[in-house]
């Protein structure tokens, strides 16, 4: 056969597999797939060892599922545990976009903009793919959004492994440096949500060891994130809103009072910060979530800012300025 010597491109094999599994109601066994589907059948040996091909099939299944294709495994009745009799299929209803999920031109424009928010990392790839699927519906956008480039950054190396573990409900381990502590401590947690608050990424996670749910700042994760094989049961409701609300409550509760040099950069920028209130001519009341981060921000203003309260923040800013002066002296 002429086709046996020709190389079948990977995408052709994957595409043929999806088509074959969509077309079957009863499902296909692995042997049926490997011996008949384009891209596999050319390498299939009816009498010999197909273990390479079987591994190929396992990887292909993962690749396909990652695209959101619901590739199902069905056990033959009374045959549980027998791997050779498993059947595979892609139920059409679970594969296709429901018929009532359609988007207007205005919605499509907005979704294009939402996708543009991500310019780096896996979220950028995911949103590009989502837009491709959206275009599949044939809706043309109302207007190209020029002159507008909102962007959310994902710079922390921990983000990718954490979002992966989040998706697969796997426990992770990392070293975390809490401010004020001498050395980082290894934390083992079940990731529940990744949220950005005030421009910073946080991990919301259950810590089985302490029996508590905690929020970790991604930039304080100082080691590579290690994903374990231990899985956990994810909460039924999306905990990200709860995580953001928790951060917001802390932000609401914490108040600093600072004196700013009139007309200075500090006066202008701190004055425009969300939630800032003028106490008198030169004093501002600021909300914050993390004292150390606010201390860094305030120290940057040098002599334009004097912290009045709380005392711990005052000390933190003062020691930062002392340290910077000493390091550069």
């Amino acid at each position: 056969m002429a086709s046996s010597s020709q190389r079948i491109p990977v995408e052709e094999r994957l595409f043929s597999l999806v088509l074959a599994l969509l077309a079957t109601d009863a499902g296909l066994t692995k042997t049926e797939i490997l011996s008949t589907v384009q891209g596999y059948r050319q390498k299939y040996s009816a009498s010999g060892d197909n273990s390479n091909l079987e591994r190929q099939f396992e990887r292909d299944k993962d690749d396909i599922r990652e695209l959101g294709v619901p590739l199902e495994t069905i056990e033959a009745p009374g045959q549980s545990g027998n791997n050779q009799n498993l059947r595979y299929r892609i139920p059409r209803g679970a594969y296709q976009l429901p018929s009532d999920v359609r988007f207007s031109p205005e919605e499509t424009t907005l979704l294009n903009l939402a996708a543009m928010v991500w310019r780096e990392g896996s979220l950028s790839g995911q949103s590009r793919r989502a837009i491709m699927k959206l275009r599949s519906l044939g809706v043309t956008t109302t207007e190209p959004v020029l002159g507008y480039a909102p962007r959310v950054r994902v710079r922390e190396a921990a983000f990718e492994p954490l979002s992966d573990a989040l998706e697969r409900h796997l426990q992770v381990r990392f070293s975390y440096l809490k401010p004020g502590e001498e050395a980082p401590r290894v934390r083992t947690v079940n990731p529940l949500a990744l949220v950005q608050h005030q421009g910073r990424w946080h991990l919301y996670a259950d810590e089985p060891e302490s029996g508590t749910t905690r929020t970790f700042l991604l930039r304080r994760i100082v080691s590579p994130v290690e994903t374990t094989t231990r899985s956990f049961v994810a909460p039924e409701l999306d905990p990200s809103a709860e995580a953001l609300a928790g951060l917001e409550a802390v932000w609401e509760e914490r108040l600093a009072v600072v004196e700013v040099e009139p007309g200075s950069d500090a006066a202008t920028r701190l004055g425009k910060r969300r939630g800032t209130r003028s106490v008198d001519d030169n004093s501002l009341e600021l909300h914050y979530t993390d004292e150390n981060i606010l201390a860094d921000e305030l120290a940057a203003f040098g002599p334009e800012v004097l912290v009045l309260s709380p005392p711990s923040l005052r000390d933190a800013v003062r020691s930062r300025l002392d340290r910077t002066a000493a390091d550069h002296g």
Binding site: A114, G138, R153
Partner: protein, 327 residues
Amino acid sequence: MADRPQPQRAQDKLAFLLSLVPYLMDHDRVSVTEVAEHFGVPAEQIRDAVRLIGVSGIPGETAMYQHGDLFDIAWDDFEDNDQIVLTNMVAIDDSPRFSAREAAALIAGLQYLSALPEHSDRTAIATLMSKLSRGASAVPSPVAVEASESDETLALARESVERGVQLEFDYLNSRGESEHRLVDPLRVESVDADWYLRGWCHLREAVRTFRLDRISSPRITEKPIAHGATDVTLPDTLFEGSADDLTVTIDIAAGAVALLADYIPEGAERTDVGDRVRTSIRVSHYHGLKRLMAGMSGVATVVAPPEARAVVAEWAAAGAARYSSRP
């Protein structure tokens, strides 16, 4: 912002094929050019995909991929006229669902945009988010972004860009000087919680980036802009380098290098000095540098030149002095 062309992986090519088929099914006859434009990809990528679709199908009852089990296209129309006409279809009826992570990426993007002036209709955004959830093959991943803050300056900046009219405002630079600026607004950009206006500055006669939180008394003029987005090049990075930039050598904690990524010029040398990295950053003047360094106390230190060290030391010492001169 220009989309960088990415080399396509087999998985991406598959996603594209699964998206292209339903589109072609909805269009009885469509030109390669039109499809390429709609999907925003090169025409050759469309042709490659169509060639593959045209010979693909299901094994069928005979397990032999017989004619009726395959997609088919009007090949002559395709080869001669660059037109696509599907003449036989198999297996696929409609567009694929979003994956959990794809839906999550769009939902989180929408959350970020939801508080902006033009999206005052919160129910429309909520409807859209729920549609994305229902259109996903699994529950969208829990990734969320706080809605970005909006204020009058942002609304005015957006309006001036859209209308193509000049914007004037008082701008406080990092030297602490306030100047009146007249600007041809070209693009409103954000990075996380910070917003910027990029435009042609009539005072500096160059493209400049303005932080919105440093702008006071903004006012929209009726004067049309003198320089449009097509007349000037807006660099992809937010901070446009200039020939007058100063290069400064710093030592920085290895884990914090990413925080200064915007300032580190491409190809800058990096050497390890103990647990720190020695590298160089570019700044337009030392007034920006002193603020940057004072905000990274204990994390980054200027090594050279001595003038730069002195400016930072003086700034921090002046700040510290305020605490000793008053109780």
